[in-house]
């Protein structure tokens, strides 16, 4: 060890430390300990020396030796230093130990002293407690007796105290006193004295309960007092169910009074004609306020409006109901559950009772409100109703907040919805009656100029055209009537839409309900109101065609014409305008299928067509009646030579002219085929027969030679059939063509039923020429007139006993003169 060099000491220390901590040794050194390592643990001096001797030269050995010596020396000095240092430390430690030894000795003495003192104290204390033992027991006993006595005193005084409380009406105190004593009395009730007290108490409490009940029963007590009563009674073990019932029945009497007030108001208004009174009461805001106080003695005129009524209902009944619900819930439902009360499940029971109670009362209230709403028939001011309904609905929300499970709010909403539905129906009927009224007005307006036409001049169209006879106020012309009618209808629809729109205003509580967002807009307003009204117009127009029958007397033909134009205007513009307006105003979302604009337009067009057809039919009938009478009543065999055109023909032309003017006011001209310049100068081929060649007949048996004459050639041109009562187009020419067709066909059929003499035929020739001169200008295709007139003259010639026709020139002279 001594031979170790100082420079290698750090490595060695480390190794030692490693050994000490039994850390993992470096494996190669551990495995092959070098016996020649002077610092190693396996160092073998013998081996080392041998090795040195064998390996090293002398010089090297010498060096080795001196090095060794130097190292040994330095190790020695190190050793000495260490020893010295350790010695000093040892000395100081020895000193400290010695000093401690002295201190402990002193402490030991003091401890001894302490233990002796403690022993003395223990002894004293034992002595003292021994002496005090008896007195302590006595004191405890005494204090026990004292409390007992206090309790007993309380018990004995209880009846008196309760009585006093009763006198002072300090019921709460009495009840709390009694509650405290109750158990004790119960427990010791086998002892006679306590029993007496208990009986007394019972009696008193009975009285108290009686009083409380009395108070409860009295109507006059305030809600707060009432709730106090209930609380006390509950504490007195009064059965909660009974209390609930009583409370509710008490509340019911008061609410019923409210309801009766409302009902009385309803009864007052019932015998009065509501719709008329409504306006007067609305116009007179003073009266309703009085009527609530003394409604029985008021004149019927002072009947309340619906807003008043609902207000009263809300303020009296609904707010009272809310109050009752709130206090009831306070008392029975929401009270903290304590003691035995908790077990009885009062809240559930109470709540169900409350629900039943509220529902029955609300049902009565609703029925009253419904009755009142039903009386609301006047459609003048919708805002009042909407406001009333809004208030009604809003106030019910309070109930729903108080009583989440109740069906009341939904029923209320139902009523509102019902009212809205009713309202729409009323508006519809109002619109309908408005329409009918305006039709009556139009009828009257039409009747006036018709009279003046008949009276003034033969040129009837002149008056209708608007010039009017001087001196009189000019009657409204047809276009004016039409525009005023359609405008008033449109305005009425708009105003109704505006009124109905109030239902969906943003500030109205129920407008956010799904019904008012969806169904009300689409099914109610759009379908139920607008579409129904348009359909009604079409429907009633169609009825004019049917109910008027074929006599044509009941409906003036001009009205038919006017209505037809109205329906046509509806088809072209008004319907889509109205529906767009509705859709915009009501933001209709079409959940359910709605009537399409095109369908309505088609219906309107159909109505227009029907009306116009009917107009043509009626006018044609009027003219053909004239013609028919003129043909049927004359003796055509024995008539004189014609000198004039018959008056009836002139009348026919006049009437046709006035119809032409009339139709021209409302309908466009229409297309007509270009006519030849000499239309009025045609001649009739009298000897023509209406027989034609029969072509393509599979088994035709000719019975006579065919005369192919002029007419059959003309007939070929018109191979297509003439439909007499056929639908007309919406223009003047088509209408006039229809009327003339009907008239001339009648003429033809009538002529065929008669037998003519020579002059009869000539008269027909003259008449037909006259018609020819004037009628061609009205029709779309003058050839039609030619053809029909040819047929007439031809038929007359056929039916003539002595067919010698008049000279064409003579006919022309006669016609131009007439």
């Amino acid at each position: 060890m001594e031979a170790e060099s100082g420079s290698s000491s750090p490595g060695r220390k480390r190794r030692l430390l490693r050994l000490y901590y039994s850390a993992a040794p470096e494996p190669q050194q551990e495995e092959q300990p070098d016996p020649c390592d002077i610092n190693g643990a396996q160092f073998d001096p013998e081996l080392y020396l041998n090795k040195l001797r064998k390996e090293c030269s002398l010089n090297e050995l010498m060096d080795q030796e001196s090095c060794m010596v130097r190292q040994i020396r330095s190790l020695d000095s190190d050793m000495q230093t260490l020893v010295y240092e350790n010695y000093n430390k040892f000395i100081s430690a020895t000193d400290t130990i010695r000093k401690m030894k002295n201190d402990f000795k002193k402490m030991e003495d003091e401890m001894d002293c302490l233990s002796t003192n403690m022993a003395a104290i223990t002894e004293f204390s034992a002595r003292i407690s021994g002496t005090l033992q008896d007195q302590h027991a006595q004191i405890t006993k005494l204090s026990g007796v004292h409390t007992l006595l206090r309790k007993l005193q309380f018990l004995f005084e209880l009846p008196a105290r309760l009585n006093k409380c009763l006198e002072l009406q300090a019921y709460a105190q009495a009840v709390s006193s009694h509650c405290r004593a109750r158990c004790v009395l119960q427990q010791y009730s086998h002892m006679p004295s306590f029993r007496g007290i208990q009986d007394d108490c019972h009696a008193i409490m009975e009285r108290l309960a009686q009083q409380l009940r009395q108070k409860f029963r009295d109507g006059g007590t305030s809600a707060k007092e009432l709730s106090e009563c209930v609380e006390l009674l509950l504490q007195l073990d009064e059965p909660a169910e009974e209390l609930c019932d009583k409370f509710l029945s008490h509340a019911q009497t008061r609410l019923e009074a409210d309801l009766q007030g409302l009902e009385a108001e309803l009864r007052d208004s019932a015998p009065i004609d509501v719709s008329t009174q409504k306006l007067s009461s609305a116009a007179n805001p003073m009266s309703p306020s009085e009527s609530s106080t003394s409604s029985h003695f008021l004149s019927p005129a002072a009947q309340t409006d619906i807003l008043e009524f609902i207000d009263r209902g809300c303020n009296e009944f609904v707010s009272n109901l809310c109050l009752v619900i709130a206090s009831y819930q306070e008392l029975f439902v929401n009270r903290p559950q304590e003691g035995e009360l908790a077990s009885k499940n009062i809240p559930q029971m109470a709540n169900s009772k409350l629900l039943v109670f509220v529902d029955t009362l609300a049902a009565r209230y609703f029925s009253l409100v419904e009755r009142r709403i039903q009386e609301e028939k006047g459609v003048g001011d919708n805002s009042l109703l909407v406001r009333a309904l809004d208030r009604f609905h809003r106030r019910l929300q309070a109930v729903s907040k108080l009583l989440p499970g109740s069906a009341v709010p939904s029923q209320g909403t139902e009523i509102v919805i019902q009212a809205a539905r009713e309202r729409i129906k009323q508006y519809l009927s109002a619109l309908q009656s408005f329409y009918l009224d305006s039709l009556t007005d139009v009828r009257q307006a039409l009747a006036a100029p018709r009279l003046s036409v008949g009276g003034t001049s033969s040129a009837g169209g002149g008056a209708l055209a608007g010039s009017g006879p001087p001196g009189k106020e000019a009657p409204p012309s047809l276009p004016d009537l039409l525009t005023s009618l359609s405008n008033s209808i449109l305005n009425q629809i708009k105003s109704v839409l505006a009124s109905v729109h109030l239902f969906t205003a943003k500030d109205i509580t129920f407008s956010s309900k799904p019904y008012f967002k969806g169904e009300f807009c689409s099914q109610g307003v759009r379908e139920g109101l607008v579409v129904s009204f348009i359909k009604f117009i079409c429907q009633s127009s169609r009825q004019f065609c049917e109910s008027a029958g074929d006599r044509g007397g009941s409906t003036p033909p001009v009205l038919l014409l006017l209505l037809s134009r109205l329906c046509l205007d509806f088809e072209t513009s008004t319907i889509s305008y109205i529906l767009t307006l509705t859709d915009e105003q009501f933001l209709v979302q079409h959940h359910s299928p709605v009537t399409a604009v095109t369908a309505l337009c088609a219906e309107a067009r159909e109505a227009a067509q029907k009306l116009l057809n009917h107009y043509v039919k009626v006018q044609g009938l009027i003219i053909s009646q004239m013609l028919r009478k003129s043909v049927e009543t004359r003796d055509w065999v024995n008539t004189i030579e014609p000198r004039n055109v018959r008056a009836v023909m002139k009348r026919v032309v006049e009437d046709t002219t006035s119809i032409d003017v009339q139709v021209g006011l409302l309908y466009e001209e229409g297309v007509r085929k270009a006519h030849s310049s000499d239309s009025s100068k045609r001649t009739f081929s009298v000897y023509s027969s209406s027989r034609q060649q029969i072509r393509y007949a599979p088994s035709y048996t000719p019975s006579a030679p065919m005369d192919t004459n002029l007419l059959s050639n003309i007939h070929k041109l018109f191979s297509e059939r003439i439909d007499i009562f056929s639908p007309v187009e919406f223009n003047k020419v088509s209408v006039l063509t229809g009327i003339i067709k009907i008239s001339l066909k009648t003429f033809l059929e009538c002529v065929r039923l008669r037998t003519f003499g020579r002059y009869g035929l000539q008269q027909i020739q003259v008449d037909c020429h006259y018609l020819q001169m004037y009628l061609w200008r009205f029709v779309s295709d003058e050839n039609l007139v030619h053809f029909l007139l040819d047929e007439i003259v031809g038929s007359a010639a056929h039916r003539c006993l002595d067919p010698s026709p008049m000279e064409q020139s003579v006919i022309e002279v006669i016609c131009e003169r007439g």
């Binding site: 074929d550 065999v637 027989r691 599979p698 019975s703 006579a704 065929r752 037998t755």
Partner: protein
């Protein structure tokens, strides 16, 4: 199909009067009376050969005047009545007479059916149904299914019931009734009801339809304003005793239950001009013909108010075995009221239409220009009704 093609026959004169030869139940035969003021009027006897689709005609002369109405005796094939215009001294009077066809007309015509130069034979006058006091005769009605001894003539405002005696050579008035009312009332047409033992008559004047009891000759009902305008014709449902159909100038055909005269049972409005004639099919009363001055003939199927609403009733014999299948058919295809066909072969007003008395599926229509068209009920419908 060849079967459905119409057969057309042309007369050289204008004509309004058409009737089936009622007493003839084997051959399909129609009688047409012409109207001509200048030439001799004729009665064309049209025989239709159903198998060969050929028309055979025979012409009999009617010297008396132009024929406005013709009707054949239900009992005697050879007897017929006409209403004709008699013109004398610039007066026109419509008279009626009973005629007998010459017995040999059939043999005589067979030689040359197309040869009109062959001198036609003349009708043999049996008797006049005349009474100048009664005025113009509108029509003559034979007692339906009777023995050909009783006829009714409607003259102006009179209903006259005649008894024909001594094989129709003598006519005596057995009773008569007069229509009372203001104005000049004139019957336009009438029909003798085949029901109630032939004791009822229905007449039309102006817009009203009236029913008469022939025993008392008194009015039993009156449908005022039956049509909006003149009533042109009427016909009794052959199977339902209270039902009748009427037509008129308002282009409508109306069906009436005479027990409830306030409202028509049904109204058809298919024509575009006056309807001049309406005829129930004699066997299948759902089939109805109407003729109109719009030159059309319309065949309608009025199932809903017919006596056999679900098609032809099965005979009692095969009812038992075919009942089930029949029921199935019923439920399968209940026929709707509908127009079966519109016949447009005419080019002038059609004033008369008649069912054949021999073949219930065949009918003739006559237009003013003298064109007679023979048509058949469409075969599909025929089988549907029969099966």
């Amino acid at each position: 199909m060849e079967d459905d093609a119409p057969v057309i026959y042309g007369l050289e004169f204008q004509a309004r009067a058409l009737t089936a030869q009622t007493a003839e139940t084997d051959a399909i035969r129609f009688l047409v009376g012409t109207q001509s003021l200048k030439f001799e009027n004729q009665i064309h006897i049209i025989d239709f050969d159903d198998e060969n689709n050929i028309i055979n005609k025979n012409v009999l002369l009617h010297h008396a005047g132009e024929i406005w109405h013709i009707s054949a005796s239900p009992a005697d094939k050879g007897v017929l009545t006409t209403c004709y215009n008699k013109t004398s001294e610039s007066r026109v009077l419509t008279c009626a007479a009973v005629w007998r066809m010459p017995p040999e007309w059939e043999s005589g015509s067979h030689e040359s059916p197309d040869d009109s130069s062959n001198s036609p034979q003349t009708l043999e006058l049996l008797c006049h149904l005349d009474n100048t006091a009664h005025g113009n005769t509108a029509c003559v009605l034979w007692e339906p299914m009777g023995d050909g001894k009783r006829v009714i003539s409607l003259a102006d405002s009179h209903v006259v019931l005649w008894d024909l005696q001594e094989s129709s050579t003598k006519a005596t008035i057995s009773s008569s009734a007069t229509l009372e009312g203001k104005g000049q009332l004139k019957f336009t047409s009438g029909k003798w009801s085949p029901h109630h033992n032939c004791t009822q008559l229905a007449t039309a004047n102006d817009m009203a339809i009236r029913g008469w009891d022939l025993r008392s000759m008194s009015q039993i009902y009156c449908i005022e304003n039956a049509h909006g305008q003149l009533v042109r014709d009427l016909d009794f449902n052959p199977n339902k005793q209270y039902y009748l159909a009427s037509c008129g100038d308002d282009c409508k055909v109306k069906f009436w239950d005479v027990r409830h005269i306030n409202e028509p049972v049904k109204t058809l409005e298919e024509h575009s001009h006056w309807v001049w004639s309406v005829r129930y099919n004699h066997s299948h009363d759902q089939l109805l013909l109407t003729a109109s001055s719009d030159s059309r003939v319309i065949l309608s199927n009025m199932v809903s108010i017919s006596s056999e609403p679900f098609g032809h009733l099965v005979d009692d014999d095969d009812l038992s075995d075919s009942e089930e299948t029949h029921h199935e058919e019923k439920s399968k295809e209940p026929l709707q009221d509908s127009i079966i066909a519109t016949y447009e072969e005419h080019e002038d007003s059609v004033y008369a239409v008649e069912w054949s008395s021999a073949d219930p599926w065949l009918f003739a229509s006559l237009s003013y220009d003298g064109r007679l068209v023979i048509n058949r009920v469409p075969r599909a419908l025929k089988y549907r009704i029969l099966l």
